[in-house]
């Protein structure tokens, strides 16, 4: 137990360091925030334009979709502060990954905690103030009960882990593929469409909707967003959370497996 505490303290130290270091990248942070707002603006008006002269489409009101876009954009803002893909690709290509492996910590865990540090920083200084104002101005739908808030937060955390594990796994493929060009673009496309980041799954053609429900990506944004705006409730909500949990477990196992294989490859070839 004491060992576990010590380990946690060490990993939290990585969070603290990257929290402090985050200020050095304030320029990037402002830029990211700007880009986030432009996309919020864009999607807000696209949905507004689509809903023109219509009250509800596929049984969903504009108010719901607008709230969905708001919370989705906020979550995407948070996610954007921790992107392990670039870092791990860089480390693999430069060969620095070897030094990470010989250190007495688990590299994927370290990376996760470091990113949590920069996310905390970005959330406190940029996302939270900005979206507080936006929420006060536009008064979107928000969770109406403490339970709904709790389930939303739970779902957000699960969603983050799913994306994190998948992205890290993908990043590790750099070990086997020198140039990921085309594959990377398919990967990003899959995430952006099937996660429901910009288009809620409700509006998908039937067969695509079914397909999306079987993929892990919907757990990243669609589930938390839908819980937030109250479009997911009752047994549907619990089955959605269960599916999320399932994908967290599966993507975690895949990550560990790929990481194990990558480790063997490094040792086997001496980097």
């Amino acid at each position: 137990m004491a060992g576990l505490c010590g380990k946690l303290r060490m990993y939290l130290e990585f969070s603290r360091i990257s929290f402090q270091r985050a200020a050095a990248y304030r320029f990037e942070a402002w830029m990211r925030l700007f880009s986030n707002v432009v996309f919020l603006f864009m999607w807000g008006f696209i949905w507004y334009g689509l809903y023109m002269d219509r009250d509800s489409v596929s049984g969903v009101t504009f108010q719901s979709v607008f709230s969905y876009v708001l919370i989705s954009q906020m979550l995407q803002g948070i996610h954007s502060a921790g992107t392990p893909l670039w870092e791990i690709q860089e480390k693999v290509r430069s060969g620095d990954i070897v030094t990470e492996i010989i250190r007495p910590y688990d590299y994927p865990t370290r990376l996760l905690f470091a990113d949590l540090g920069s996310i905390a920083f970005y959330f406190l200084t940029a996302i939270f103030p900005l979206y507080s104002v936006i929420f006060l101005i536009f008064r979107p739908l928000i969770p109406t009960s403490p339970e709904q808030w709790f389930l939303f937060f739970l779902s957000v955390v699960l969603g983050y882990l799913i994306r994190y594990f998948i992205e890290l796994t993908f990043g590790l493929f750099t070990f086997w593929l020198i140039e990921t060009g085309g594959v990377e673009d398919i990967f990003y496309f899959a995430i952006s469409l099937f996660s429901g980041a910009t288009i809620p799954l409700w509006f998908f053609p039937g067969w695509l909707n079914t397909l999306a429900r079987y993929l892990p990506f919907q757990g990243i944004y669609f589930v938390p967003n839908a819980i937030f705006v109250g479009e997911l409730g009752g047994t549907e909500l619990f089955s959605a959370l269960t599916v999320q949990l399932f994908w967290v477990a599966v993507s975690f196992l895949i990550l560990r497996f790929v990481w194990y294989k990558a480790g063997k490859k490094i040792v086997g070839q001496g980097g």
């Binding site: 830029m31 880009s35 696209i46 334009g49 596929s58 060009g181 398919i186 990003y188 496309f189």
Partner: protein, 270 residues
């Protein structure tokens, strides 16, 4: 004057040829790059299709009209990236000090830097946009007169200059903050997404902004009004034929700002 332009072109050609040869050394990466860009844009077109599936039209624009708008912007973008895409990486040259070499040579640093790379990877976008354009032209059963083809040509050249100017303008930030690549991705990327949709869905202030400040509207929306025979409540139809002039003006402005950036670099270094 004529002689110095001839000389400049000759130097440019020499460097461009060298750059192409250098890129061809990595043929696998080269093909993956082209493939990657095609995937990227195809993904965006599919997303648009999903978006319109339940709604059929966005403010009077149907799916293939949106694809036309999209293809027009990607077409001029792909041409401009051939010449200017590496400008986004100016920050690397400044941080590593390799920009110095452009300042100790007897030719214009802008010109020298521009000739550094001739980005053949942009072919992926070019192929996509031409394909998408032809499909949209057929699906919308368009039959243009020569005047309309002229507007189209003006839009492609103007759009190339406008977006090229944008890349040059963004790279200038590197002289002040030693960062440009990230700025490029977070600034240009959202705006290029924005102009894939008809301008009318956005509020007036934004319409004015992307018409008069960052003149993206001249890249695709305004010419598309003429080419698709649509009307806009604010902008007169003929504005779409002005793209080429706006392009020249904007590029010239960006070029001047870049020169100011070099002056600034001269006084601060990296």
């Amino acid at each position: 004057m004529a002689r110095s332009i001839y000389n400049a072109l000759r130097i440019y050609w020499y460097m461009v040829e060298a750059s192409i040869r250098a890129q061809m050394q990595y043929s696998y990466a080269f093909i993956m790059n082209i493939l990657g860009w095609m995937m990227h844009y195809t993904g965006m077109a599919i997303t648009m299709w999903v978006l319109l599936y339940s709604f059929q039209a966005l403010n009077g624009w149907v799916y293939w009209e949106l694809i036309f708008l999209f293809a027009l912007s990607v077409l001029s973008w792909s041409i401009c990236t051939i010449f200017f895409f590496h400008f986004r990486k100016l920050d690397v040259h400044i941080v590593q000090g390799t920009f110095d070499r452009f300042l100790v040579r007897p030719i214009s640093p802008f010109f020298h830097f521009m000739a550094l790379k001739f980005d053949v990877g942009a072919l992926g976008q070019l192929f996509f946009s031409i394909g998408a354009f032809i499909l949209a032209y057929i699906k919308l059963s368009l039959h243009w007169s020569w005047a309309e083809w002229l507007v189209f040509l003006g839009a492609v050249i103007g759009g190339t200059l406008i977006q090229g100017g944008m890349l040059v303008l963004i790279s200038t930030i590197a002289f002040y903050t030693t960062r440009s690549e990230r700025v490029f991705w977070v600034l240009i990327f959202p705006f290029r997404n924005l102009i894939n949709y008809p301008l009318t869905i956005f509020p007036k202030a934004m319409q004015m902004f992307i018409t008069f400040v960052l003149p993206f509207a001249f890249v695709n929306y305004l010419p598309a009004l003429i080419l698709l025979d649509k009307a806009d409540p604010v902008f007169p139809g003929f504005w779409g034929s002005l793209s080429i002039f706006v392009g020249i003006l904007f590029f010239w402005f960006s070029y001047r700002v870049w020169q100011k950036g070099v002056d600034r670099y001269n006084s601060t270094g990296s």
